[in-house]
């Protein structure tokens, strides 16, 4: 790691005013599990780290009849163990409990999870988010791409969005709150993720002197939700594909559905096609498979990742079936 200055402000406004207005000069240190690895690999070399762990009001969970507020500084482990999360958002609790390893969940924070950088090995080797060679050829399309995007990959971005908890949060209708020099703003969580078109652009709608302060999840009464991940290893592994599903039923038919795929595109991937296929239908294996087929109908695999299309279909099918059966594993 290169040398840096270390500051620990006590309030949000202090932290925000200490951040630079361009990327590169300073970084927020929360759990550090991603940031320190990026700094050790010289992908990031900030002159200044702003430790936000002394800002007490960024931590914790509180709920009311409208929903739940998840403080950005709460660790994944504390969120996974939180009684109200487990009771009211069991699919989120499951996704949190499956993220990374116990040691990482004890350090990693919600805000850090939402802002972590892609796991794309070209990016992690210092070749950039949209890597090209001297002739301008896309390295990902030309080279190894077995873990890369199968949807939303028409432009130069071929990496996959790395958070395993964002798809189920989006399915639950979560909103993210940000605070910066110009005040606070709130946006649907899926809108926080953008596909960069030029090298140097970030994959988040986050300004350099803004910070994530909390995530608001609306009440999920009468919502049947499920999270389903496909990994090579049973635990402590990045998924190959995953799906988060939240269904509202009327009688025995689907009244509304949110179906969000993960690890298939540079952004978390809500599928209106799958949602449309499912609304008005009863849930059974056939309707679930039809919805999953609709979700992947426009998939355009790269040279080594056609297998992910099938895995993503299976993840969507199983997430729908799991949600319908009450979300039990």
């Amino acid at each position: 790691m290169r040398p840096f200055e270390y500051l620990s402000p006590n309030t949000r406004t202090q932290a925000i005013s200490l951040l630079g207005s361009t990327w590169g000069s300073s970084e927020i240190l929360a759990g550090g599990t991603d940031l320190l690895a990026l700094m050790k690999d010289d992908i990031l070399a900030p002159k200044r780290l702003i430790n936000i762990k002394d800002i007490k009001d960024l931590r914790g969970v509180s709920s009311d009849p409208q929903g739940i507020r998840l403080g950005a500084l709460t660790t994944l482990g504390d969120l996974a163990d939180d009684e109200s999360v487990k009771k009211n958002y069991p699919a989120l609790a499951e996704a949190l409990g499956e993220a990374a390893s116990p040691q990482i969940r004890n350090l990693a924070t919600l805000g850090g999870n939402l802002c972590q950088r892609p796991r794309c090995w070209y990016f992690r080797n210092g070749l950039g988010l949209l890597p090209i060679d001297e002739a301008g050829k896309e390295l990902v399309s030309e080279g190894e791409n077995r873990y890369h995007a199968i949807l939303g990959n028409e432009g130069p971005a071929k990496f996959v969005s790395p958070s395993t908890i964002v798809p189920i949060l989006v399915a639950y209708g979560a909103k993210i709150r940000l605070q910066g020099l110009n005040g606070k703003r709130e946006l649907p969580l899926e809108r926080f993720y953008v596909t960069p078109k030029k090298e140097g652009e970030r994959e988040h709608d986050l300004r350099p002197n803004e910070m994530v302060t909390e995530v608001m999840v609306p009440a999920a009464t009468n919502v049947k939700a499920a999270h389903y991940e496909i990994r090579q290893k049973a635990a402590f592994d990045w998924p190959l594909a995953l799906a988060g599903v939240a269904l509202k039923m009327r009688d025995s038919k689907v009244e509304s559905a949110r179906i969000v795929l993960g690890y298939v595109a540079p952004v978390p991937w809500p599928s209106p096609e799958a949602e449309k296929a499912l609304v008005g239908q009863p849930i059974n294996k056939e309707t679930a498979q039809k919805a999953a087929a609709a979700a992947l109908a426009n998939a355009k695999p790269l040279s080594h990742n056609a297998y992910k299309v099938k895995l993503a279909r299976v993840a969507v099918t199983r997430a729908i079936m799991k949600a319908a059966s009450g979300g039990a594993a």
């Binding site: 040398p3 200490l18 630079g20 000069s25 240190l29 320190l36 482990g77 040691q103």
Partner: protein, 211 residues
């Protein structure tokens, strides 16, 4: 990239800043040149408040490791793992991947298992740290360590200290684990020799004895 610090003012330039002023410094150093002066951290203004700036050079730090107070002057970029191994001769936690992937550096911070490679020493100050060295009491192995011996739970042994700390923390929070709990609870530690079966047996044995 431009270092954009328009919001910051170096508080040392302010005549009202606390600490040692230039005039005081000259006075003190004139009186007693032999006494080394430890300057406090530089301060910057942020939202009307002074915030200390530590580093990039060495910073005096204090740690609470295995119930003892430890001091060292370290740069902010030093990890807790490197501080333990290089400054305090606590070499039980191993530096293997240094990327939060293998578990060999597992220690307890605030009584929870964490990867010491992924915590900066400066942020671990004053938080209780427990390393594998503290588990032996009065020359007696901890029940988890004894169970490792009895169940042949290590081969080359390099992952063992991290596994032992993880197992202890896991059993403290899961006194009656199922085999599935054990597999998931220890997923953050890797053993390239493949001694997982012995480790699972060791944990099950300790859980059964209720130690």
């Amino acid at each position: 990239m431009r270092d954009d610090d328009e919001n910051l003012k170096d508080a040392n330039h302010s005549s009202e800043s606390p600490g040692v002023s230039r005039r005081d410094f000259l006075k003190i150093s004139g009186i007693s040149v032999a006494v080394p002066l430890v300057a406090g951290p530089k301060m910057v203004m942020a939202a009307g408040q002074q915030v200390p700036v530590y580093g990039p050079g060495k910073v005096p730090m204090e740690f609470a490791i295995n119930g003892k107070n430890h001091k060292a002057d370290l740069e902010p970029r030093v990890t807790l793992l490197d501080a333990l191994r290089d400054q305090f001769e606590l070499t039980g936690a191993k530096r293997v991947c240094d990327r939060a992937e293998c578990g060999a550096c597992t220690v307890l911070m605030d009584n929870k298992p964490v990867y010491a490679c992924s915590v900066l020493a400066i942020e671990a100050q004053h938080r209780p740290i427990t390393t594998v060295e503290s588990l032996i009491e009065g020359g007696n192995l901890h029940p988890v360590q004894r169970a490792f011996v009895e169940n042949d739970a290590s081969q080359c042994g390099f992952c063992t200290p991290g596994f032992v700390v993880s197992c202890k923390a896991f059993l403290d929070s899961h006194p009656h684990p199922t085999p599935e709990d054990i597999r998931r609870g220890l997923s953050g530690n890797l053993c390239r020799c493949g001694t997982y079966e012995g480790i699972r047996k060791a944990i099950a044995q300790v859980a059964q004895k209720g130690a």
